[in-house]
């Protein structure tokens, strides 16, 4: 009783968030679906897509004799592209993501989860298989996977800064990394290189709090990381602003360079910006991946 007097209440509150996040993600996903029309292209699949005249290079096996017999020309029967791609997500769950500079702003983790879930919904509806990097939740399709993803995304990590999980990536699949990328850069580089070695391409989205971009601090301050493992003391914080921002730009430049080198795409998003724009960019970036 007394050790956890509010346990039931808290559990209910936490459980209540799950559908809420899902609902938000769903709503968000719908805003994108309205403007897009699925994947209309030929490829491997079961459903009929179109007949096209035979072109040089087509083997005889590809000619659809039944259609060709109705006319003088030969036609090739094409089916709609139905090969499902696998998409692996890595959403940073470290303590640094649970930061919001103002009570009206969502935490970075909240924004990252929302975006991840929304894009997952879009992808799964488009027939893709979505999962998490690492062995915990391999990519699967279907609505049930949305629930499993939601549940997995709600977990909070214990570390101060996130390290990307690049194990168990399916070769030549796609990946989405969302983080603040403030942690050890070498680890990112290593993970991305490892992914690129397997032919995985994908998208890096850096989510930042506005205060992390602006650095609006003044006076004598001791800055602590969210886990209080790292701290820095300054006598006059406002003096540090320029140098901090140049370091942040360096980090972003490095990320962009790394992305270019590995064939990934990079973008940043601030938590005070509209979430739709980020999702739209994400969606198109995922589309372009092919």
């Amino acid at each position: 009783m007394s050790a956890h007097p509010q346990l039931r209440r808290r559990a209910e509150a936490a459980a209540a968030r799950l559908p809420a996040l899902l609902a938000r993600a769903d709503t968000l996903a719908n805003t994108v679906l309205l403007g897009e029309h699925g994947r209309r292209r030929s490829g491997l699949g079961d459903d009929f897509w179109q007949y096209r005249p035979v072109q040089p290079g087509d083997s005889y096996r590809m000619i659809d004799w039944r259609r060709s017999a109705k006319s003088d020309a030969q036609f090739v029967r094409q089916k709609e592209w139905q090969i499902a791609q696998s998409v692996a997500l890595w959403i940073d769950d470290a303590a640094s993501m649970r930061y919001a500079s103002h009570k009206d702003l969502p935490t970075k983790a909240d924004r990252a989860r929302l975006l991840a879930l929304a894009i997952s919904i879009l992808l799964i509806r488009a027939g893709e298989r979505v999962g998490l990097t690492g062995p915990t939740l391999p990519p699967r399709r279907g609505d049930g996977q949305i629930w499993r993803l939601t549940e997995a995304l709600m977990q909070d990590g214990a570390t101060d800064y996130g390290v990307p999980e690049a194990r168990a990536l399916i070769p030549r699949s796609r990946a989405l990394f969302i983080s603040d990328f403030l942690g050890d850069f070498d680890a990112f580089e290593f993970a991305l290189a490892k992914a690129a070695d397997r032919g995985v391409r994908g998208v890096i989205l850096q989510v930042l709090d506005p205060s992390e971009a602006e650095f609006p601090f003044r006076g004598r301050t001791i800055f602590e990381s969210m886990g209080a493992e790292v701290f820095h003391e300054t006598r006059k914080a406002n003096e540090l602003k320029d140098r901090y921002q140049s370091r942040l730009q360096d980090r972003q430049r490095q990320l962009r360079a790394l992305a270019r080198a590995t064939g990934w795409q990079y973008h940043w998003h601030h938590t005070d910006a509209p979430v739709q724009s980020a999702l739209l960019w994400l969606y198109r970036a995922m589309e372009r991946g092919h």
């Binding site: 007394s2 942690g183 205060s211 992390e212 006076g219 800055f223 602590e224 820095h232 006598r235």
Partner: protein
């Protein structure tokens, strides 16, 4: 000092100023404290160095402010004093002489401040001092002046004047050494003041402090013709105007001002003024005293007694067997008019005259025995008021026919007359307006009062003088004749509505009032008072405040009338049997005069410039600087990021409103269930209660779906009880009784479904009852509680089966007596049912002495804190104690739910059809 009239009471403290430069360097070296901020971007900051030029030292203006702050504190504590007049003190001891009489009351607050200033001054200059109050003289005792400063309040004015003997003892007790005198005078002249002055002047300088405001006093109240006349005195130069209030109880029993009037006094040195109050007799009966508003003096309050209060009125009527004809009774309307405001006595004349009533009313009594007539005459001559009413019997008799009866104001014609009847001419007669000189002057005559019959007066030469009221045809209606010190009044109509409508009208009561039937001042005769002992009920103190006098000794009647006031005879209200008498500061006709000081005595009005302490100013300055420093430090540290928060913070710091404390008090336990216990003020007992309820809460959490949060201690005086369904109240002999408001709350709580478990915790030594101190305490506490009839828990009480099946309710002790609300007497066991059909609802109290909390008590790790029994029986007993607790909480939360199951067979039966 330094050319300024400045002195320090503790100059050595100033040496601390030397430390200021050291402080300067220390403060300069220490930068403002940093704030800690969570910021994930910190990794990007690692390794960045601050510029050397950035600020790491406190700015000079902040340093200067802090220096000023410290300096202000040091100077403040060194006790700076500003002395505008450099008058050299004589160095001799100081004697403060106070008249201390009632006239000093209004100026006491100012006098007191002046005396304290003088004593403080004497203390600074190292003089000893003594105080002497002439109304209660004690030998002067010269002590360090600081001792007296704290005792000035003991020398408040007393409600009498200094007596001659008192002055003589004071003079003889004066020390022989030289001293200076400060005489705080009320200005009143009394015997011995000149002697005292001479004695004091022989020993040193005498300075007199006397306020210039005029002295106001009330000296008498008289009642004439229903109007209260209050006479007042004013002494001293200057005109004055004050409100005089008549204080008494309103119909609800609260003390209010029944009437108020403005009194003006002229500018002459001694002025008298009168003010009149015309109050209905009923209201007059409620007056407790008169007061000059805003003057705190025993002389400005006038206590009243029987003289303006209820009077004894005897009703005498003809005996007749007019059974049941209540409204036709000659005295019915009289009784109705009198009963509100007077004491009514019934009886025959021989019986009532010894009671010496103020008024005797004869309603249509014609024939009196000669002896009765003689005694009645004697009584009237001694000041009685004999009021007679006419009637058929009087009209038919020969009373006062041929010659005037001594007990009749006029001679009567035979037979009377009837007007406006079936067998007579004319219209019924109305009343003529009252003459402006008579006692009824100013009363309004209602139009609807008609007289149809009357007895007629013979037109004698003296008739015109005796008529008080007449009809509009000039025939007398009311006549009056003085008899000795008293008077005889005759109404020429009946006292009932038979002959006229007069008794039915409001005018009748007003006329009786004017005739002083309802109240009048009968002089306090000395012989009545002789030999009686009067006990004080309420007495006045020197400031005119009313105090309980029941603890004082009684006073002889003669002394009450004439002896001067003293400690043994205080002004106030005294009682002897049913009579009350008031003694006031001034007796009727007593004149007071002002004392004329000889020309050589210097008189000041107390506004003398005294030394001014600067300590508070310096400390306030330090406080303001501290506030500014705090704000500046916050701003420098970047904690107040914008000016708006700074402004809000400043407003909060600068103007803390009393509501702040209220707003922060949240109400815990409003969204979760919490078991509560009453805070008894005994810390060990409160801890036990907490631990006990903690253990029980744990057990509930484990075993049931009730999941309480931590127990809550409830302060009955302040906390809201409505949030707690269950209250554990351990009894200890030393806890205090709840206040009245707390009792109100508790009764509300019990009535609205709360349950209190009273635990006397002494079942090992005593049965429930008054046999132990805890039991007696419980009785005292529960006396004011709304507790229904109780009975020991019956075997089929719902408490025995709300969760567990129980028959015993042991705690740490396994006593027998656990009491709950009694079942209704008509509860019966239905055939075939295991239980009786019992009352609804929850028993509001459970009373026992088994010390349950001790059996339940655990610490946060679940370890039991108190041993229960021995071995496995002990463990069983503790288990049963927990089961009782669980049953009890279930009973509180589910009420008679388990009791309802007795209906199950009936319901099943019905469904089975």
């Amino acid at each position: 000092m330094l050319g300024l009239p400045l002195a320090f009471s503790a100059p050595w403290v100033l040496t601390a100023l030397i430390a200021l430069p050291i402080l300067w360097f220390l403060l300069r070296a220490v930068p403002p404290a940093p704030i800690r901020k969570r910021f994930p971007g910190v990794v990007l900051l690692l390794g960045l160095q601050d510029d050397e030029s950035t600020m790491d030292r406190t700015p000079w203006w902040l340093l200067l402010m802090r220096m000023l702050l410290i300096a202000a504190v040091i100077i403040g504590f060194s006790g700076p004093v500003l002395q505008p007049d450099g008058a050299a003190p004589s160095g001799r001891p100081l004697l403060v002489v106070m008249d201390g009489d009632w006239a000093a009351g209004p100026g006491w607050a100012r006098d007191r401040a002046a005396i304290e200033d003088a004593l403080a001054e004497a203390e600074r200059t190292g003089r000893t001092a003594a105080m002497l109050r002439l109304t209660a003289p004690e030998p002067a005792q010269f002590l360090p002046a600081g001792v007296w400063v704290r005792r000035v309040a003991e020398f408040a004015p007393l409600p009498w004047t200094p007596s001659e003997t008192g002055i003589a003892t004071a003079i003889s007790a004066l020390p022989d050494d030289d001293f200076d005198t400060l005489w705080v005078s009320s200005g009143l002249a009394y015997v011995g003041r000149t002697d005292m002055l001479a004695a004091l002047e022989a020993r040193g300088q005498v300075a007199v402090l006397q306020r210039a405001a005029p002295l106001l006093a009330l000296d008498d109240v008289s009642l004439a013709d229903g109007v209260l006349t209050l006479s007042t005195q004013k002494l001293g130069p200057g005109a004055a105007a004050q409100t005089v209030s008549v204080i008494g109880e309103d119909p609800n029993g609260a003390e209010v001002a029944l009437a108020q009037a403005e009194v003006q006094w002229g500018a002459a040195r001694a002025e008298q003024s009168e003010v009149q109050f015309a109050l209905p007799a009923e209201m007059r009966g409620r007056i407790s005293h008169f007061r000059i508003d805003g003057v705190s003096s025993a002389g400005a309050r006038f206590m009243t007694d029987d003289r303006i209060r209820r009077r004894e009125v005897a009703l005498v009527e003809v005996r007749g067997d007019r059974e049941g004809l209540e409204l036709l009774s000659p005295t019915h309307f009289l009784r109705q008019a009198l009963v509100e405001s007077a004491e009514v006595i019934d009886g025959a004349i021989p019986d009532i005259i010894p009671a010496n009533p103020d008024v005797i009313i004869l309603a249509d009594v014609a024939a009196l025995a000669p002896s009765e007539e003689a005694r009645l005459l004697e009584w009237t001559e001694n000041g009685g008021l004999l009021l007679r009413f006419a009637g058929p019997q009087m009209a038919a008799s020969d009373l006062s026919r041929a010659e005037e009866n001594p007990l009749m104001p006029v001679r009567l014609r035979a037979g009377g007359r009837t007007v406006g009847g079936a067998m007579s001419w004319g219209e019924p007669k109305a009343l003529a307006p009252f003459s402006p000189q008579g006692p009824f002057a100013g009363l309004k005559v209602p139009d609807d009062v008609r007289v149809t019959a009357q007895v007629l007066a013979q037109p004698d030469p003296n008739l015109a003088d005796r008529v008080l009221a007449e009809l509009n045809d000039g025939t007398p209606l009311v006549t009056r004749k003085p008899v000795g010190a008293g008077q005889v009044v005759l109404f020429h109509v009946t006292a009932n509505a038979e002959w006229s409508g007069l008794p039915l009208s409001g005018l009748f009561v007003q006329m009786l009032d004017r005739l002083a039937v309802l109240s009048a001042g009968s002089a306090d005769a000395a012989e009545i008072m002789a030999g009686t002992i009067w006990t004080p009920i309420e007495v006045l103190d020197g400031l005119g405040r009313i105090q309980d006098g029941q603890t004082l000794t009684g006073v002889e009647g003669a002394a009450l009338l004439s002896a001067p006031l003293s400690a043994a005879l205080r002004p106030g209200v005294y009682r002897d049997g049913g009579k009350t008498a008031a003694r006031n500061v001034l007796r009727k006709g007593e004149k007071i005069t002002l004392f004329d000081w000889p020309a050589h005595v210097a008189i000041s009005e107390g506004a003398a410039a005294t030394a001014k302490e600067l300590k508070p100013y310096f400390l306030s300055l330090a406080l303001v600087l501290l506030l500014a420093d705090t704000l500046a430090a916050l701003i420098l540290a970047g904690r107040l990021s914008n000016w708006r928060t700074a402004l809000i913070a400043f407003a909060l710091v600068a103007a803390p409103s009393p509501g702040d404390a209220q707003a922060t008090g949240t109400l815990p336990g409003t969204d979760e269930i919490a078991l509560a216990y009453v805070l008894t003020g005994n810390a060990a007992l409160d801890d036990l209660s907490y631990a006990g309820l903690y253990g029980l809460s744990d057990m509930l959490y484990m075993r049931t779906s009730v999941e309480p949060v931590n127990p809550v201690g409830v302060d009955l005086a302040q906390d809201e009880l409505a949030f707690y369904p269950f209250l554990y109240w351990p009894i200890s002999p030393d806890q205090s009784l709840p206040s009245d408001t707390a009792y109100e709350k508790l009764n509300d709580y019990l009535r609205s479904g709360g349950l209190i478990l009273f635990d006397t915790r002494d079942a090992d030594v005593a049965e429930l009852g008054a046999s132990s101190p805890n039991g007696r305490k419980l009785q005292a506490i529960a006396r004011a509680l709304d507790i229904p009839a109780l009975e020991p828990v019956p075997g089929d009480h719902v408490l025995t089966r709300t969760f567990y099946l129980l028959q015993d309710f042991p705690g740490r002790y396994a006593g027998r007596g656990v009491w709950v609300e009694a079942a209704p007497p008509d509860a019966e066991q239905i055939e075939g049912m295991p239980f009786r059909n019992l009352n609804d609802g929850v028993t509001p109290v459970v009373i026992g002495g088994n010390d349950w909390a001790a059996a339940w008590a655990t610490d946060t790790r679940g370890t039991h804190l108190y041993p229960v029994g021995r071995g496995s029986t002990g463990a069983r007993q503790r288990e049963l104690a927990y089961r009782f607790g669980i049953n009890l909480i279930m009973h509180v939360l589910t009420g008679n739910y388990k009791s309802d199951q007795v209906h199950v067979p009936a319901l099943l039966d019905r469904l089975g059809q």
